[in-house]
């Protein structure tokens, strides 16, 4: 018996599942290797149609390994390798996800780093509490995996899911001066000195400890009855998005007109209760979710983001297809509500939080027009109905061959400088992404 097989048998014994049974029709043990390759290029413009003021390009490779020694057992690992030729801080190599998953007919167990996604809304999911995000490019909003232990029990169409994340891992944000999505001012007016350029120095003293004391737990029950999908969930953990407390200027160089400000990111303890639903009605699908978040108010004297808040996202979508051609048209619209949402303030406010509460009330539109099997046009738009800031994302998607995708699109942001998208209104850009999976 090889060492690998001995390890497997040991795992089975430890987990108390007995000898694996060979189920009819399943493929024997197999190993799958694959790689995702991606190149991105962004051109930042003075305005839509204006001249290029800046650009960023990056190459990403994600090799992955799936080993399924038995139908019920999967070992998976992938490594993200990114070289950003413009922002060195975004160049990283790390284990994107790596987990062992054991699936039985009525229960499953997994341990490791995996992407967990809760909720049924198309975007802006209030119950999606375990999924992490990489905000170093806010608009791309890439999801990140979380280190978890997960157990599920299924009976009929119902599933009970329990998740324990032993050590807190935050969202990825950047405070680098050359990053366009920090949500922090690049300059400020210092009396007697004038306009100075700002850099930020992170003080991590208030980050949750990297110990079991920072653990988070969540439980979710989901099911389907009479054409309705539904779930209820509870979570005790942290806001993954940091709330940044701006402290005094650490260093200042009047001659060079630069200053460094100390930042103290904090992640607040929260308790979340929520649920979601989805239902097909005629040719439409309605879906939504809501969550109420109780917060640990670190500073009772402040209002806004420290208060409990309620979020709701709901909407409907429909796909219209052609009988005689490959054409189809998808249309979806969502309404998002976020109470107690304070917009990020200027530098003189004590706390800023550029990412936690982007909306008070927003409309999200998502359309996709497929012309042929290989060409489609997508359009997504976000409009904050209170502050009137917006983001629109038109793009052409071309699949010249299977597994290869080329996307040419743009991101246009607008609104007052004090609004969520408005603060990034100088970040209008054209973008190109080429990806290939094999």
């Amino acid at each position: 018996m090889t060492r690998d097989r001995r390890v497997l048998w040991l795992l089975w014994l430890i987990l108390g599942v007995g000898v694996p049974d060979a189920r009819a029709g399943e493929e024997p043990s197999k190993v799958r290797l694959g790689v995702y390759l991606e190149y991105e290029y962004f051109s930042y413009l003075t305005s839509l149609g204006g001249e290029v003021v800046d650009s960023r390009n990056a190459f990403t490779a994600i090799p992955r390994l799936d080993w399924a020694p038995h139908h019920d057992l999967l070992l998976h690992a992938s490594v993200l390798m990114r070289k950003d030729f413009s922002e060195e801080e975004r160049s990283r190599i790390y284990a994107y996800d790596a987990f062992m998953s054991l699936e039985r007919e009525t229960w499953s167990f997994s341990i490791g780093r995996e992407v967990l996604s809760w909720g049924r809304a198309d975007s802006l999911r209030p119950t999606d509490v375990f999924q992490r995000h990489d905000y170093t490019d806010l608009i791309e909003d890439r999801v990140e995996a979380t280190d978890v232990v997960k157990v599920t029990f299924s009976r009929g169409t119902g599933t009970l899911e329990g998740v324990w994340a032993p050590v807190f891992t935050p969202d990825i944000v950047s405070y680098a001066a050359d990053n366009r999505w920090t949500g922090l001012p690049a300059t400020t007016d210092v009396p007697g000195v004038g306009q100075v350029s700002l850099t930020y120095d992170e003080d991590s003293q208030q980050r949750p400890p990297a110990t079991l004391a920072s653990g988070q737990v969540g439980i979710r029950f989901s099911g389907t009855t009479g054409g309705w999908d539904y779930s209820g969930m509870g979570y005790y953990g942290y806001d993954r998005v940091p709330t940044i407390t701006l402290h005094e200027v650490e260093t200042q160089d009047p001659a060079a007109q630069t200053a460094t400000i100390r930042l103290v990111p904090t992640h607040k303890r929260i308790t979340v209760f929520g649920g979601d639903f989805a239902k097909a009605i005629s040719r439409w699908t309605v879906r939504g979710e809501a969550a109420y978040t109780l917060t640990a108010d670190l500073d009772p004297g402040t209002t806004g983001i420290n208060d409990p808040y309620f979020r709701f996202t709901g909407g409907a979508d429909r796909t219209i297809s052609s009988t005689t051609s490959a054409q189809s048209f998808l249309f979806g619209i969502q309404y998002a509500l976020d109470t107690e949402a304070e917009q990020p303030g200027p530098l003189d406010t004590q706390e800023v939080n550029p990412w936690l509460h982007p909306f008070r009330q927003a409309l999200v539109v998502n359309t996709s027009w497929k012309f042929t099997e290989s060409v489609r046009f997508d359009f997504r738009g976000y409009v904050n109905r209170v502050e009137h800031d917006y983001l629109v994302r038109p793009e052409f998607v071309w699949t010249p061959i299977d597994s290869m995708t080329i996307v040419i699109g743009s991101d246009v942001l607008g609104g007052q400088a004090t609004t969520f998208f408005g603060q990034y209104r100088d970040n209008d850009r054209l973008r190109l992404r080429m990806s290939y999976t094999f």
Partner: protein, 272 residues
């Protein structure tokens, strides 16, 4: 009003023809009953408690360019006594859709339930049951081609006998009868070639709503598994677009026990 002699003549002719009309009607009724019985036998032959099969699907464009997908289909009856089924289709390739799947549960009393899983989104998504006439995942099949055909929703008649690749077949004409089907179907009628010895469909011609032939399904190979006759290879041609889809099946297992848990969102999300 017609003159009396002519009226008498018309009545006389009608009286003379009445028995022949009655005989003709009886023959038509018998044909319909026979056709329905043929289709019921096909349905019984096609039905199994559960079934699983791997497939290789090729989408062939007029230019000759071929796109290939591989995957597996799991099926199971919703209840042992009925014909409604649950289907899970899981794709193995191409690489960018590996692990994606579509779960469909047919319902007798309401629209089907359907969910889609795309690994890139890490979650399942309920989707509205597609229009019958929608194309199925970029293939030349429409959703109504892969859904179970409810016999009570069609009017059938036997329109003749022909051979398909040397196999004697009954040619059954199927016309939408149910109001909703007639409204939603992309077809005004279908001609179905049934091998009565095996109760197996070997060819189908599809006529669009203008009555023009626009699609043709041809079974190019068959197999017998667990006393059931099945397609091993099939070609669907879109005669308008000059586009075709071929499907080859392998490793078919019938009644080998597909767990009920496969037809849940939780299993769909596993992506394996």
């Amino acid at each position: 009003m017609k003159p009396a002699p002519l009226r008498r003549l018309v009545v006389a002719i009608a009286l003379l023809l009445a028995p022949w009309q009655a005989v003709g009607q009886m023959q038509a009724d018998a044909q319909t009953r026979d056709a329905v019985e043929v289709m019921r036998r096909v349905e019984r032959q096609e039905t199994a408690p559960d079934e699983q099969v791997r497939f290789t699907m090729r989408l062939i464009e007029p230019s000759g360019r071929v796109r290939e997908r591989t995957g597996v289909v799991y099926e199971r009856q919703v209840s042992p006594a009925g014909f409604d089924e649950m289907h899970l289709i899981r794709f193995y390739s191409p690489a960018d859709i590996q692990g994606s799947g579509v779960l469909t549960i047919e319902n007798q009393d309401r629209d089907n339930d359907q969910w889609l899983y795309l690994p890139a989104y890490h979650t399942t998504r309920r989707i509205a049951p597609a229009n019958r006439g929608d194309r199925y995942m970029g293939t030349d099949f429409l959703y109504e081609d892969i859904m179970r055909e409810r016999i009570e929703e069609y009017r059938y008649r036997i329109s003749g006998e022909e051979t398909v690749d040397g196999v004697p077949c009954l040619v059954v004409e199927a016309t939408p009868a149910a109001e909703r089907l007639a409204r939603e179907s992309a077809y005004s009628r279908k001609l179905i070639w049934v091998d009565p010895a095996r109760d197996l469909v070997l060819k189908v011609d599809y006529f669009n709503r203008d009555g023009r032939l626009f699609k043709r399904l041809t079974v190019t190979a068959t197999e017998k598994v667990a006393d059931k006759h099945r397609w091993r290879a099939v070609r669907m041609q879109d005669l308008d677009r000059q586009h075709e889809t071929t499907v080859e099946y392998r490793d078919r297992r019938i009644g080998a026990g597909v767990p009920e848990s496969y037809f849940t969102e939780a299993y769909l999300k596993r992506g394996q």
